[in-house]
Amino acid sequence: MAAEQKKTKHILIKLLGLVVAMFVFAIWVMPPLYNLICDVAGLNGKTQGQYVSAVAAEVDTSRWVKVQFVAVNNEGMPWEFQPNEFSIKVHPGEATVTHFVAKNPTDSIMVGQAVPSMVPSNATNYFHKTECFCFNKQTLGPGEEAELGLRFIVDQDLPKAVKTITLSYSLFDVTDMSDSDVESKEQELQALHTNELSILTEFVPDKPRNNYIHVANRMQPLI
């Protein structure tokens, strides 16, 4: 009987180990694995992170690729958000800069995050973003408007069948999850405000009034 109980205990421990292992697998292995597979295979229309290339790409002037831009707001996001150019024709290998415009029409500081998606999905591995506003959260004060920059290169190895690439950005309201961004924006605005007051009292006339419109200068590398 004692030997039997020992064996039961042994089985119990092994099976509990399997339970724990599968739980760990579900939470800590599956999500990263999923993202890894999507990244490697370019699945799911997920574009890649920041692209850094050691050698300058050779421009393939023999063909044109049309890149279309779509900007949509996720449900409940009040910002005005649209691309400056809806469609650009580029040569593969050519670095191109374009801008999106976002405006926060509300009375409060808001934080937005743009999430990219690409069609056709077999183009995702050939679309390199060297700089993108989607790498960071965007914080806009009340009524503030910003031009958001995107710099990209279409790879020369893009399959010949792909003539048009559509890049879509969905803008999500992430204010609730970004307390620190809101705080630093508040401080920035406060500093600006006191600065402006002192400017006014000192009567310096040639100070630009609209100095908190930033143009494409928020593009910090993420990685």
Binding site: L18, V20, M30, N35, N44, N74, S170, M177
Partner: protein, 521 residues
């Protein structure tokens, strides 16, 4: 060892006896079956005619969700665990389960899990309304606040299933009587051993996916939240990685049951015993590599569609082996058609129909048309109702005389069978047609185009529901005033459970049975 059960309520609260716990599982499961059936009848009442007549759309969604959850986790799974508790120790000549205290615990946390789940009906926001598959973000961003109760309910029922499964594995691997080799075990024991491993492998994944939901909802993570860098499609992958093995968890023990019943009433040994074992193991293995066939329309690349399509179709091979083995077992047998046999034959025929509609759904290009239509509803009800429910019903009729020592009324049993058989087909067969005509799942109101099919389905559903009340009456009548059953019960019965008296004494096989009693079919 002469002592019997304790007296009064404490017998049930503190029992570690596998027969008591098995009975409690079965009664609990029947109660949940009636509750889930009531939800189904609310759905069928609303769909009797086009237009909104009886319930609000949100309440309708709560009904579809709770019907699925209660039937899967409350009715089918506990019923199989109950049968395992009753039969496995008796089939392998063991005195009890290997971990009797854990056995008590794994049953007694179940009522709490379902109390949590059902209590949401009485709270602000109402019960879960996002479908039994609880896809994010419906179940996270857009869920009612009560979703947290749902999450904890799922955690508890998952813990219960895991403990039950561990107990079954430990019992089968460790407590077999001397001489009961693995390849001599009855097929019900074999299929349950495989099922238990499936449960241990995937219930933690279910716990994981609801934990990720919990963290997304309350702790600011973004597993499934696109805004924070997560991905709702990830939810579907993790869920179906659990969900597909889960559907085999609900059918493998059923295979074991009919593999016990058909040889008894065909009076022939089971054809192809070892191929049955290998087929069950193959099905279990394949169940882990086909999950994405539930999400063909999610935007997978062509290669993925092909891999999952072919892997899914491959499952038809071991399943076909099983169906042919059952048919061959009956071939030229001296068959009689007692109630358990009727349910088992209906199982073979109707489960095969459900399998064929499954093959249709496995074809990725046509699945784009069938996806999320009533065709899918028809398919999975054809595998679950005649599959799981009919096999459990067959098992109850088959072993009830052994449990209670009393026979049920054969005429009433056959009446129950024919009412259920006709009710089931009238309910679910028209759904194939309304589905092919384009009727989507989970809608309270619909195009009048589908009105006739829906009216027929609703009539069938009430017939089927009524048949289950008759079932309850038959079981109670057998317990109260049934004729005394013999120890052998059935003329063609084989196996250790028939060597003990009827009703089975409170303690059986305190000394191992003689080897000559062990026959492997």
């Amino acid at each position: 060892m002469a002592h019997g059960p304790a007296k009064g309520i404490s017998r049930w609260l503190f029992t570690t006896n596998h027969k008591d716990i098995g009975s409690m599982y079965l009664w609990f499961s029947f109660a949940m079956f009636l509750l889930g059936g009531t939800f189904a009848l609310v759905i069928r009442m609303e769909l009797f005619q086009p237009g909104l007549q009886i319930v609000e759309p949100n309440f309708f969604n709560q009904m579809t969700t709770m019907h699925g959850l209660v039937m899967v986790f409350g009715a089918v799974m506990p019923a199989f665990v109950g049968l395992a508790n009753w039969m496995i120790p008796m089939m392998i000549g063991a005195p009890d389960m290997a971990l009797p205290r854990m056995n008590n615990w794994s049953f007694w946390i179940l009522p709490f899990a379902f109390a949590l789940l059902v209590s949401t009906f009485f709270m602000d926001g109402g019960a879960p309304n996002f479908g039994w598959t609880f896809y994010a973000p419906l179940s996270t961003t857009y869920a009612p606040d009560t979703v947290t109760f749902f999450i904890f309910g799922v955690h508890i029922m998952g813990a219960s299933s895991i403990m039950g499964a561990i107990n079954i594995v430990a019992t089968i691997l460790n407590l077999r009587a001397p001489g009961m080799t693995l390849m001599k075990m009855p097929l019900f024991v074999w299929t349950w051993l495989i099922t238990a491993y499936l449960l241990i492998a995937v219930m933690p994944v279910l716990a994981g996916v609801v934990t990720m939901m919990l963290m997304d909802i309350h702790f600011g993570t973004s597993f499934f939240e696109a805004a924070g860098g997560g991905d709702p499609v990830l939810f579907q992958h993790v869920f179906w990685f659990f969900g597909h093995p889960e559907v085999y968890i609900m059918i493998l023990p059923a295979f074991g049951i009919v593999s016990a019943i058909i040889p008894t009433f065909a009076r022939k040994p089971l054809f192809g015993y070892s191929s049955m074992v290998y087929a069950s193991a193959s099905i279990a293995f394949l169940s882990f590599i086909v999950w994405a066939h539930h999400m063909f329309t999610v935007g997978m690349p062509l290669f993925g569609e092909l891999v999952f399509m072919y892997a899914t179709m491959l499952i038809a091979v071991p399943t076909g082996v099983k169906v042919f083995n059952w048919v061959t077992t009956m071939w030229q047998g001296a068959m009689t058609f007692e109630t358990p046999m009727l349910f088992s034959i209906a199982f073979v025929i109707l489960f095969t129909i459900g399998g064929f509609s499954g093959l249709m759904l496995a074809i990725a290009p046509v699945d784009f048309q069938y996806h999320d239509t009533y065709f899918v509803v028809a398919h999975f009800h054809y595998v679950l109702v005649p599959g799981a429910i009919f096999s459990i019903t067959a098992a109850v009729y088959y072993w009830l005389p052994k449990w209670t020592g009393k026979m049920y009324d054969e005429t009433l049993g056959k009446t129950h069978f024919w009412l259920a058989f006709i009710g089931l087909n009238v309910t679910f067969f028209p759904m194939h047609f309304s589905g092919l005509a384009g009727m989507p799942r989970r809608i309270p109101d619909y195009n009048p185009l589908w009105a006739d099919w829906n009216m027929i389905s609703s009539i069938g559903a009430f017939l089927f529901g009524g048949a289950q009340i008759l079932f309850l009456y038959i079981v109670i009548r057998a317990i109260v005033s049934g004729k005394k059953a013999t120890d052998r019960v059935w003329e063609g019965s084989h196996g250790l459970e028939w060597t003990v008296p009827s009703p089975a004494p409170y303690h059986t096989f305190t000394t191992p049975p003689p080897k000559e009693d062990m026959q492997s079919y």
